[in-house]
Symmetry: C2
Subunit: 497 residues, 2 copies
């Protein structure tokens, strides 16, 4: 049957993807230094084979003969949707000119090197032409694939299917206004929160054990998962029932390691669950990066930085690190891990100010891809907007647009998923609380019920729905920034009186 | 140029091989339990793709048009040999009927399960028909590929190119007679060697550190290599300049872990070096499994179990494990690690008796593949031969033919490489000593000179020569058992007076 043949081909491509995940995982953790060059060749070979398989005429003809046959309507609806999803993905890939794809790979590879240099030295003379080329090539990709409104939409679609800039723009504008208001009020409160005890010496092994213990309370089954240490924490799926997470523990910064662990733990729960529910269907994957991020942020922030969580776990932590926390109360601790501090660096920002970075970056991406501004004006743009949003100027280029790796790697359209994830997580919390009651006393049982709710309402659907559809289905409302703003106000106005 | 196209294709296939090595490495060390099923699918997909690429008409036509063109003779000789080697490998694979290859994969997969059961319970009723089928299918493969004398030669060729049974048979017969003589003399000496101190508690971390320290003295560069722990130690190459070795350390058995480390260290030196010399040539691989084994045995036995090595290292070991070795002299230690003890189990045997197991197994393989005996007679054969070779009977089937995994995995023709490796290692030692003088005081400098000699005379050739050619070139003589017998006599008659 042609349906089975198509699914088999897609699963073969998925298997190549699993191999690539392992090659990358190993490269981030275990590879000996001199193995890196050869690893790049292995990754290139498999990526090329997987791509050739995806765009092959044989597969595409099968898909067409399936969807165009009279039998197609007799196929169960789920299977029809599977084939149509594959058709969309295949057609998108087939529209990309091979030479253009190669040119992008070559350019980003050069840009990655120059970006590292530029970030170190602050001199972006050699980097800017490459960045310019990346945006130009990405625009060409968008042209080749086609769009109705905005070429940026084609790039957004890579990370969040069917997402449009005309949808994000007003959402982010309202969000910006309200965030700035909240930050002004917090600053006006002049309240000082002590957090020096978070930066004392925390034994690495004990940090590791505590993090692992919480992941186990999330119900993560370590027969289907493992955690390792890497420089930059990440989650990757290497096979059905084989999800790998990493964390990074720093001896003098408790929150960095712990919240990384929770963040990846959230990703892990989602990845593990889609496989449990959908197994070898093409829908056995996350709906979008926004939704993925909503889950990591949910566990990192909404759970992990909540009073209700620490009410149940602070004593355990205190026992482990009595030397640092002896005179620290639950209240002190809760406030310290939620301290609001404007930073020029996105990844060092708190729940409130973080999204301003994304709003800035998203607007810039859209302007660049639409030739509204030129790469040479990025720094001016960044200065002006930073002043407006944060009321300071970045001191160096590594504090401005050079701080993040994404663009050099060709990831344009990726940034908005971080803030969308935050908005989704708060809207999900609201829906959850409407059904389960307030999530304000997070003991082990409550934790399991929360995860059961997510499993039933979010995870089990895999990528059957786009994230905006899934938000609507699981929360009964279109995505809005209001739940997130309410969440911030409730939480931070209390902390800052 | 067509030469480059062929080499590029072969290197793509090699890259898939590297990915498979990583998938297997990870499965032996890190995979979470539930990831195993999905991993099997990933391995199957990539194996199939690599095989399809190797036997593709496009590649074969390129090879033919290269070798048959008038330009071929103008190609430098090395490149001609590369293409002819590829041609031979491709033609061998193309001759294997696809259905037969699939049938073997299916049968061995079933046989692996049944073998595990049979080994545990001693009941081989369900296993024997599968084993019978494996031999039958392997015979069919040999028929499909073709042979002049003996179908077994086709299987031997998989592990040691151009090796023939008519060459092994007389070599192993003479070896058998002389080994039995040596063992009789050792037994007649009635000398008791104390070795209880090897079985005391040796701290695992200190064992790991000591092993690593010796590997570093071998000049192994850990920027191109890493060592981990696995149940069964192995060496695998995951990329150019990326060789992974594993060891297994047991707290109550010092020699097991340490000699595993040296064994894999020998494999590692060889694998690392062929890449250094031949880089992306198809000859950048070991010559054969026999030669590979000659290197692991060289470092495990000829170096690692020599008086000259411990003369220079026993004091370091004693300092580390003073609680166990306080009253043990260098002489006691040397004799203990060389104690001769006949065992029904191959992997637990010493340097002298080990080869009798291989001689028995090789003869049995040849008889089975040539239908001289039937699988139902294996046990009778094993009993009779064990009695003759060892003067005892195996107590159970897991002490007889069920002890090893190889046949269940379809590895027929693999066993002789172990003994050939032993013979080669002794012949290499002789050639080395003719040039460098006696290897009897193995300090750090001597160790480096030994490895330089191997690098220059063996490793740098990669698989350009077959192992028998390479033995001839590097030692000036065809392979014989005499150097090995002389080595054993010198060493063990002294130990046993």
């Amino acid at each position: 049957m042609i349906y089975n043949e198509i699914i088999n081909s897609i699963n073969e491509i998925k298997n190549l993807g699993y191999a690539l995940s392992l090659l990358n995982w190993d490269q981030s953790i275990f590879i000996p230094k001199n193995g890196v060059m050869s690893r790049a060749n292995v990754i290139e070979t498999i990526t090329k084979i997987a791509h050739d398989m995806l765009i092959s005429d044989i597969l595409y003809e099968k898909i067409l003969s399936c969807t165009e046959s009279n039998d197609f309507k007799n196929l169960e609806e789920f299977k029809q949707k599977e084939i149509l999803k594959i058709k969309k993905d295949v057609e998108k890939e087939r529209k990309k000119p091979t030479d253009l794809v190669k040119e992008i790979a070559k350019t980003t590879s050069l840009a990655m090197n120059e970006w590292e240099q530029a970030k170190k030295t602050g001199n972006d003379e050699k980097y800017l032409p490459l960045l310019n080329k990346i945006f130009k090539l990405k625009k060409e990709i968008a042209d080749a694939i086609g769009f109705s409104d905005n070429p940026y939409d084609v790039l957004l679609d890579d990370y969040d299917e069917n997402l449009k800039y005309k949808y994000i723009e007003p959402l982010f504008n309202s969000l910006e206004n309200q965030l700035v208001e909240i930050i002004n009020k917090i600053e006006a409160s002049k309240k000082h929160i002590k957090d020096d005890f978070l930066l004392r010496k925390y034994d690495k092994n004990k940090q590791w054990e505590f993090g692992l213990c919480i992941l186990k309370k999330f119900g993560i089954n370590f027969d289907s998962c493992r955690q390792d240490i890497s420089t930059h924490p990440f989650t990757t799926t290497i096979g059905e029932y084989d999800v790998r997470i990493t964390t990074n523990i720093s001896e003098n910064n408790f929150i960095k390691g712990f919240f990384s662990t929770l963040h990846e733990g959230g990703h892990c729960l989602y990845e593990l669950s889609v496989n449990n529910h959908l197994n070898s269907s093409p829908f056995a994957t996350i709906s979008s990066l926004s939704l993925h991020e909503s889950q990591s942020r949910f566990f990192e922030n909404i759970i992990g930085r909540s009073y209700g969580f620490w009410k149940n776990h602070f004593n355990d932590l205190k026992k482990l690190f009595i030397e640092n926390l002896n005179n620290v109360t639950l209240d002190d601790f809760y406030k310290a891990i939620n301290k609001v501090k404007k930073s020029p660096i996105r990844t060092e920002s708190d729940e409130v100010t973080y999204n301003l970075h994304i709003i800035l970056r998203t607007q810039l991406e859209n302007d660049l891809i639409n030739d509204k501004i030129n790469v040479n004006s990025i720094n001016d743009f960044w200065h002006e907007r930073t002043k407006k949003l944060f009321n300071f100027y970045p001191k160096t280029k590594s504090e401005s647009y050079l701080q993040d790796i994404h663009w050099s790697d060709g990831l344009i359209g990726y940034f908005p998923t971080y803030t969308l994830g935050n908005l989704i997580s708060a809207q999900i919390l609201n829906a959850m609380e409407n059904q389960m009651g307030k999530v304000n006393d997070i003991n082990d049982e409550k934790l399991i019920n929360i995860i059961k709710w997510l499993d039933k309402n979010i995870y089990k659907h895999g990528s059957f729905y786009s994230s905006m559809e899934l938000v609507k289905i699981s929360t009964n409302k279109d995505l809005t920034h209001e739940y997130f703003i309410d969440y911030l106000k409730d939480k931070f106005f209390e902390i800052y009186n």
